[in-house]
């Protein structure tokens, strides 16, 4: 029974993921993006078929096994675009640190001002980091992994929906600055969006995603007592 439920959980997740890839190709939108669509559709199917979250634990264990290797693989785009980073070291690093720190401090300050619980404050602080790293930091700083994953996903969607418009409004036109901002704040989805704007923006965004992940990994545990 347990094995059957596990298989069912895997099948539903994989099926919804395959469907989301088709949908996002046909109707590109943050709401058909694989992360958002697969998560919500899987939850809906589980609710409709009365699958408990505990029934899914084993499936989750199996499916997230490749998250570690996938994180290690992020070194590849970083290595491939290293010359771009070296050539723009000062503006790229300054912008990256300002963006990563700025968004973290803004999130924590605002969440506290709104009286949100400490678990939420801690979990929302690392929402701009790419998901596999964010859930790992969440484990270290006693945040809620699920909440963090959700905040990361929504942040990715915000970057796609709001990012280009906001950057236009703020008069940020250089592809380097735009790509850097999108990659730093909205990780994977922001990087995909930046890649649509151009090769340079996409390349710098993929660097920003990786370096911001390293930076936040270092800084989040240090800042934790002040959250």
């Amino acid at each position: 029974m347990k094995a059957a439920l596990t298989l069912y959980g895997i099948a539903v997740t994989a099926g919804m993921y395959a469907l989301s890839r088709r949908l996002s190709r046909r109707w590109p939108s943050p709401f058909t993006s694989p992360v958002f669509f697969t998560t919500s559709a899987t939850i809906l199917v589980f609710l409709a078929t009365r699958v408990e979250l505990s029934d899914y634990a084993q499936a989750k264990e199996i499916l997230t096994f490749l998250l570690g290797p996938a994180t290690v693989a992020l070194a590849m785009p970083l290595y491939r675009n290293r010359r771009l980073l070296v050539a723009n070291l000062v503006p790229a690093m300054a912008g990256l640190l300002a963006g990563a720190l700025g968004t973290m401090i803004a999130a924590v300050a605002l969440a506290r001002a709104l009286g949100l619980s400490r678990t939420i404050v801690v979990s929302i602080s690392i929402k701009s980091v790419t998901a596999p790293v964010a859930v790992e930091i969440a484990r270290m700083i006693q945040a809620d992994q699920t909440l963090t994953a959700a905040f990361v996903i929504v942040t990715g969607m915000i970057g796609v929906m709001l990012g280009p418009w906001l950057l236009d409004r703020a008069g940020i036109r250089s592809p380097l600055a735009r790509g850097l901002a999108l990659g730093t704040v909205s990780h994977g989805q922001g990087t995909a969006q930046a890649a649509l704007e151009g090769e340079l923006a996409g390349a710098i965004a993929s660097i920003a995603l990786g370096v911001a992940a390293v930076f936040t990994s270092l800084v989040a545990p240090l800042l934790l007592p002040y959250f």
Partner: protein, 157 residues
Amino acid sequence: MTPGMEGAALTTPAAIAVVPRTDLRAATAPVLLAVKRAVLLAAEVAGLWALNEAGQLIVTRLHLHFPGNVAGMLLLFALLCTGVVPERLFERSSSLLARHLPFFFVPIAVGLMTLGSTLLSQGMSLLLVLVASAAVGLCAAGWLAQVLAPPARKERP
């Protein structure tokens, strides 16, 4: 088989037995290639997995407050920079994993199904925090990078 042998293959009894065998080989060739690719891909992923484990080990042994998978990533970056690992070694697996990255963390977000009511009651506050903090980060990063960057080449006369 040489083109001239095709006619002979149909007439000589000894060759008749050969024809289906080569057909079989031709038919299995794509399958064998696919198997070979899959094995190579699995080996690549196993290599990335080993690097991840090495990262975890380094972090635990040195009592670092740092995610093990990020340590694994930095390890691979160092190996690439020093030329110990050639770039093409993880070419296929890294692009495959990056492309399907969402699939691997969706199961964690599915945990939201039990947190739904809590989140819905605070939904507006949470959305406000996420949108405002993203806006702060985007503007800070974009503005500082643009100000500090040397002017674009096309702006020169």
